[in-house]
Every structure is written in C-alpha cells, then in structure tokens.
C-alpha cells in the first residue's frame, strides 16, 4: 500500500515540478530538428550522385541511432536529476520526517519512489522513442527492425541510471548525486567508444576498457543493444570492419547473460540503497 502511495507521489512530483514540461519541450525540439534533417536526406545530392533508397536507409539507420542517443541522454538526465532530490532532498528539507514517522517501512517508500521513477523514465522513452520512429518513417520510410526490444533496452538503460542516482542520493547531497550519476553515464559511454576503437585496432588492452566499464555500469551495454535493434541489418555488412569503431553502430545483439547481469546489477544497487537508507538517521 505505502509502495503505491510513494510511487504515485513520485509521479505527481514529476508532473507538478514541471519536469514533464521541460522534457516535452526538449523532446519536441529534438523531434522537429530530426524530422527536418531526415526529410532533407531523401533527395540528398552527394558527390556520388543521388542517394539510392538503399543508401538512404543506411544513412537513416545511423542517424536514427544518433537521434535516439539524444533521446536517451534526455531521459537519463531527466530521471537522474529527478532521482537525486527524491531521497536526499526529502531528508535535507525535512519532508521525510513526517512521512517516515508514519507506519511505513523505509524500504517500501524507497521501492515506491523507484517504481514511480521507473514508470516515468520508461513511459518517456516509450512515447518519445515511438514519436521519433514515426517521424523517421514519415521522412524516409525507414522503420527499425525491432522497435519494441530497442525501446525496452533504452528504458533499461534509464532504469540502471536512476537506480544509481537513488543510491548516490542516499549517501551524498541531492545535486551532487545527479551530477555524479550523469558524469558516470557519460564516462561509461566514452569508455565504450574507446573500447570500440580498441577492437577496431585489434588492441586488446584498449578493448578491455569498454568491456569492463560495460560490466561496472550497464548503461552503455544496454544502449549498444538498443542501437542494434534500431539499425538496418544491411548496414553492418556494408560497413564491414569499420563498424567496430563507429560509436553509432552496434555489431551484435546483447547476450542473455549480459541482460541477466544488468538485472542483477539493478537488484544489487537497489538492495544496497535500501540498506543505506534503512540505517540512515533522518
């Protein structure tokens, strides 16, 4: 019961604090710009002559990944900065005092807040992602091969990041937790790109940077799985080896083991947050 109350309160906070509006404005801007860009792509005149429809699909496929990265960044920033104040901010301001003096378990309040954030982040990814797919289909007639799985993985990435932001916000100040979470998210992405370059160059040491960072924080791994679901399968064969180092192409779908690891990672970090939050003096 208190789980649902806390979840509802978190969603209401997101709506009332105008986070929804800020995200909507950013998303509409991104959709409009991408729609305009994609619509120019169809009749693009290059030095090799007009793009064939096949080439246009290839370019669209990569551009879609680029734009989806923008969307995932908005979702990540939005939820991380929403997750930050939700625990630490409530404790700092004193709002947690009257709530936690009620007959509620702290873990139930935490679970409710987490579920609210998960619903918010996943809902945003689903709506904004679908809108982006429709824009691309309207502009160049491209539809990703596995949109549902891709969006689910993107939502998974958001869940990983907000879980991390929740853990951070139970130990450090609200603003710092948002900044650190987004910083780690960016660093993992860069490490993933570095790992890709290492793979392309055949340097195992550099390649390991990406692999290790993807295990430590599964945001980049999930993002690469999502990209694979968005991109046209023909793109990889066309790019061949060069695809390995390119940050907006993914050469392989995610393994079940990695997905399980991501789930275990979320459960572990959540459990740790619950442990810290339970012991914390309010």
């Amino acid at each position: 019961m208190s789980v649902l109350i806390a979840a509802g309160l978190t969603l209401r906070e997101a709506a009332r604090r105008r986070v929804v509006w800020a995200l909507a404005v950013l998303t509409v801007a991104l959709l409009t710009l991408s729609g305009w860009g994609f619509s120019r792509l169809a009749g693009l005149d290059t030095e090799f002559g007009d793009l064939t429809s096949g080439q246009a699909r290839m370019v669209a496929s990569q551009l879609l990944n680029l734009v989806m990265f923008g969307l995932s960044l908005i979702a990540a920033l939005g939820t991380a900065f929403l997750a930050g104040p939700t625990l630490a901010g409530d404790i700092e301001s004193g709002m947690a005092l009257s709530m936690l003096a009620r007959p509620v378990r702290r873990s139930a309040v935490l679970l409710g807040k987490w579920l609210g954030l998960v619903a918010f982040g996943s809902g945003y990814v689903a709506v904004a992602g679908l809108a982006q797919f429709l824009v691309v289909r309207w502009a160049v007639g491209y539809w990703p091969p596995d949109p549902a799985a891709g969006l689910a993985l993107l939502a998974g990435q958001t869940v990983v990041l907000l879980t991390l932001a929740l853990l951070l916000s139970s130990v450090i100040s609200p603003m710092a937790s948002g900044v650190v979470a987004v910083g780690l998210f960016g660093a993992t992405w860069v490490a993933g790109v570095v790992g890709g370059v290492g793979q392309a160059l055949g340097n195992e040491g550099v390649e390991r940077v990406g692999t290790v960072s993807r295990v430590l924080l599964p945001t980049d791994g999930l993002w690469r799985g999502a990209m694979h679901a968005f991109q046209d399968p023909s793109v990889l064969s066309a790019f061949d080896v060069a695809a390995e180092g390119f940050p907006f192409l993914s050469e392989a779908p995610l393994t079940v083991a990695y997905l399980l690891w991501a789930a275990v990672w979320v459960a572990m970090v959540w459990g740790l947050t619950a442990l810290v939050f339970n012991r914390r003096d309010i």
Binding site: R16, L97, S98, R102, P103
Partner: protein, 323 residues
C-alpha cells in the same frame, strides 16, 4: 527462532492492558565522539501530557526522533502504544509535528492531509480534511499549494497533519516556534482538547509557560541525560508563604519555625511549607499568630515557577533533586 521469539514477545506485550503511550529505557546516541543522548528513560502514560524541557543541544529532538524510529538508537528500547518501536505498526496511531516542518510544496494543503491519511491507513473525506484545516486556522486555504505558505502556515498545516487519523499519541516538537501569540494560544487549546479526549501528548517546547499550563508531568534533559522528572506538583512542590507581621516575639518565632523553614526577619518572613501540606498549615499558623498577639498585615502565597526550577536544576542548584 529469534524473530519468532520477538513476535511472541510482541504479542504478549500487545495483549497487556493499557500499556503506556511511550516507554523508553536506556536510550543512548552518539554522533561521532559526542554523546547526544545518554541513558534516557521515561514514560508517557495514556492520556497524559508530558513536557520535554531542556536547553539547546540537550538531546530533546534526538530523543523524539529515536522514539519515532527516525534516528537509530545506539542502545536502549522503545515501546509506542504497547508495540516495540522498531515495528512500523507501533506508529499506526501516532501523530508527529517535527521541529523541521516541511511538506511537499507541490501539493495542496488538502492533498498533504489526504496523503498522511492514506499513510496512516485511515479513511478521510474531503470535508473532514477541510474541517481539520479550519481547526488550525487554515480555512479557505485547502486548495492552495503548500509552496506558497508562510512558515507559520506550514506549522499550522503540520499540526493538522499530526492530528490526522485520530491518534492516541501526539508528539509535538517545538509546535509554536513559527507562530504568533494567537497561534500559540491556539496550540495550547489544541493540546488541552487532546488531553480532554484522553490522547497522550509529548510536548517539546522552549516556552516553559506553555508547558507549565498544559503538562501533567515534565522530563528535564540536560547534556543528553534526564536531569529531573516528575509531576509539576513534585517538581514545583515547594510552596511558600510570605508574611508581613509586627509584634513578633520568641514564642511567635517558634510557632513560625514549627510551620516550616523560615527565612527573613524583622517584620517580613518567608515560610517554606512542607510538601505534604494539606492546605491547613497556613490558616492554623495565622490563627495561632493572632492568638499570640502578633499583628498580621499580609499573607501572600508564593510558588516557585517552573522556569526558576528549571534554571535551578540546570545550574546545578537543585537541592532536593526530584527524579
């Protein structure tokens, strides 16, 4: 096995008749190297109003937070309304106005009340919420966002929140810190109304006058320890009577000393009356003095205030140290 034992013990305790509203024993809390609370034990009976007094940093708010499970005690036990304090269910019928009163600024006052009613698992109709707000002087503000409230209004809202769901114990931590004199009087009326309904109240306040007016018992904390505790009669039990007399001779002085400890001299005397005075000492004394030929000009009853007593205890001058 341990969990089973605890459950069995909790069941056993829950079945006992009229357990106190608050029972705590040996509470201790350290923050780093500083001991904030040390071996604090006290009880608040059902329907009793107990004041928690002490200087800044005495550990009053820490004790309250430990009672409500907001701060983990390093040692000691808490029972609320007959249930162990670590069980959230012990707070089912407990209302709390924190010293740091902040409520979700993006909610309206009515929504904050509704939220707390749901958390306390009691049904609350919209009209009831409006009535509660009216009772604390927030009539007509039910639909306004809390973010636009002044500090005083937020504290009033906090009082309404603490009273949600018909609590059997209300903990008020500095409930009048942001209120004007009218607000303070209203809080006093609220506490007296709770007392009349048999609701136990634990009141932490710097306003000793308020505490003296509404509390049955007082617990005085100093440097994290219970410096004194008892009923107001026990703590302020020293009744005095000041006398303006002329024509006092040796026999009259002996009669005065027989009534109690005498200070003063010449024509003004102060007699400290015994704690077990049944009200007959002063009339008997006056009648005897008149019979001895003493002219009695004035008889003035005096009682030391709680403030004097508190200062006396805190400055280490409490001679009789009621505990």
């Amino acid at each position: 096995m341990v969990a089973e034992d605890t459950r069995a013990a909790a069941r056993l305790v829950a079945e006992l008749p009229a357990s106190p509203a608050v029972w705590c024993s040996g509470l201790r809390k350290r923050y780093g190297r500083r001991t904030a609370v040390d071996e604090v034990s006290f009880t608040v009976g059902r329907g009793e109003v107990v004041g928690l007094l002490g200087p800044n940093g005495a550990g009053k708010t820490s004790v309250i937070k430990m009672l409500l499970g907001l701060v983990r005690a390093d040692a000691g036990e808490v029972m609320l309304l007959g249930r162990p304090g670590h069980d959230p269910q012990s707070r089912l019928r407990v209302g709390y106005l924190p010293e740091l009163f902040r409520y979700q600024p993006w909610l309206t006052a009515a929504e904050v009340l509704a939220l707390h009613a749901r958390l306390a698992r009691v049904p609350m109709a919209e009209a009831e919420g409006r009535d509660r707000l009216t009772a604390v002087g927030l009539d007509g503000r039910a639909g306004d966002r809390v973010g636009g409230f002044s500090k005083g209004m937020q504290q009033r809202l906090g009082l309404a929140v603490a009273l949600v769901g018909g609590p059997e114990l209300v903990v008020l931590d500095e409930p009048t810190s942001a209120l004007d004199p009218i607000g303070r009087a209203e809080v006093r009326d609220v506490v007296l109304a709770l007392k009349a309904r048999g609701v136990a109240v634990l009141l932490n306040s710097h306003l000793i006058g308020e505490v003296e007016r509404v509390c049955d018992r007082v617990v005085i904390l100093d440097q994290g320890r219970v410096a004194a505790s008892g009923t107001l009669a026990e703590l302020l039990g020293r009744h005095e009577v000041r006398l303006h007399l002329t024509g006092v001779d040796g026999r009259a002085e002996a009669r005065l000393r027989a009534a109690g400890t005498v200070t003063g001299g010449g024509d003004r005397f102060t007699v400290v009356l015994p704690a077990d005075d049944d009200g007959g000492t002063v009339p008997g004394l006056v009648a005897d003095l008149v019979a001895l030929g003493v002219s009695v000009h004035a008889v003035e009853p005096a009682r030391i205030s709680l403030e004097e007593r508190l200062l006396g205890i805190l400055r280490g001058r409490s001679g009789d140290g009621v505990r």
